[in-house]
């Protein structure tokens, strides 16, 4: 199967391979796909809680060259963007950038899902933290005295 030069480049020199600490409150982790389908992507983002800018991103992928390239590209693109900007990344952008053939479009869809899953996870963590903070304030009304 002929790969585009960009896919080959990402495969040979994947950007941002690795892991961020899952338990860090500012890290969102997206794990999408399934081994039975031959495609699993883990994409993690580290978000600045004040500016909502994605300061770091890491990925690991079990999948074909196009899947690896799609997720590597995804980490490149989300870095430096705000959460809202990252949510705007569409799989069609990935297809265009990597010149993915029709049979590989689903790899780009999974990468878009991975971004959204990581953001969703980060948002849930923020909400949970807020709820916990509110609960502890309510429980200790005299803490500020």
């Amino acid at each position: 199967m002929p790969y585009s030069d960009k896919v080959i480049d990402h495969y040979k020199n994947p950007r941002n391979v690795g892991s961020l600490p899952k338990d860090d409150p500012n890290v969102g982790t997206g794990l999408v796909g399934a081994p039975e389908c031959g495609d699993v992507m883990k994409l993690q983002i580290k978000v600045n809680p004040v500016t909502q800018v994605i300061e770091d991103a890491k990925f690991k992928t079990f999948g074909c060259g196009s899947a690896i390239a799609s997720s590597s590209l995804a980490t490149e693109w989300v870095k430096g963007k705000t959460i809202e900007e990252a949510l705007k990344i569409k799989n069609t952008d990935i297809v265009r950038e990597l010149s993915l053939p029709p049979v590989k479009i689903h790899c780009s869809v999974l990468a878009e899902d991975a971004i959204k899953a990581a953001i969703h996870d980060w948002k849930s963590k923020q909400q949970a933290a807020q709820v916990a903070a509110a609960a502890s304030e309510a429980a200790a009304p005299n803490a500020g005295d």
Binding site: V17, G33, D39
Partner: protein, 406 residues
Amino acid sequence: MAVKLPIYMDNHATTPVDPRVLEAMLPYFTQQFGNAASRNHVFGWTAEEAVENARAQIARLINASPKEIVFTSGATESDNLALKGVAEMYREKGNHIITQVTEHKAVLDTCKRLEKYGYQVTYLPVDREGRVDPDDVRRAITPKTILISIMYANNEIGVIQPIEEIGRIAKEHGVLFHVDGVQAVGKIPVDVQKDGIDLLSISAHKIYGPKGVGALYVRRKNPRVQLAAVIDGGGHERGMRSGTLNVPGIVGLGKACEICQQEMPTESERLRALRDRLKDGILSRLDEVYINGSMKYRLPNNLNLSFAYVEGESLLMGINDVAVSSGSACTSATLEPSYVLKALGVGEDLAHTSIRFGLGRFNTEEEVDYVIERVVETVNRLRELSPLYELAKEGVDLSKMSWKAE
């Protein structure tokens, strides 16, 4: 390392034409170019003689008579002719065919078509080693059974079926026995008498012959097998397959068979040693690598391995100067993983991680050593990229995880 790249290790898909085969074929393109059916001049007679010589070479390889060899465009056509030809000819006797789930698509898809025409087909399962149980064959036979079709050796996993036993059962019950011999003929001893085979499909391009030509062995004695032709028009090949004979191709097929017969004893041992070297080299350097299919009943030149946590197509990309193939869905046009591995009970996750190596006449020890290095290095690199490997190393049981599949 003195290896010439890229290295070809996909000899179950096709083989290069042996230079000796090519040399034998060439005169029949421009000098002795006659139509073998031209009965009235020397051009035709020369071509006919070459064809008859090839028939004899093929017959010798499988212990048949030259009269029992029918030439086709390849084994896919041979499989079609055997199945459809018997189905039509023996329709009065019955309409039931027995085959098995890891057959080549040339057999399975033909069976599907026959089912549309009202035939009943039983697809027998295989065990975890990839083998059919002869007792299952026996139990499946009914008074309406007219044909059993079981491949000699499988193209993906190289596993060899218990052909002689099945041949005996077929004979006991008066049922014709077709064998797709594509991967076995020329590689391991195939004897249509000893094995009780009534129809045998042969492919030239799997045994260092040219593409576009094959043969079907059709038994003439005990019993005399009759076939309805699939291709009509002129009555060539005793009415079984019309069409001008591909003389150069046939000469090539004949020569390829002759070379295989002469070299099989030494070649099969040489390839077995290379295959074992490849297997041991990889298994000693990597963990969580699984062999798909029986090692005991296996073609000497085949190896099919699953590399856990590493998807097949990405592995092929990483060893892109080595030509092999994979059972991963990503490598198939239809995005379905290998049905052969599925039939063995290999989980879909491991099917996606499988690689098939097919060694051949022109592979060397240096090439095997190079491939071992590339495979080990690429698997290690891809495992570093793999979220599944990471989870497994953390002690997570992947089979218990629930996945958000798309």
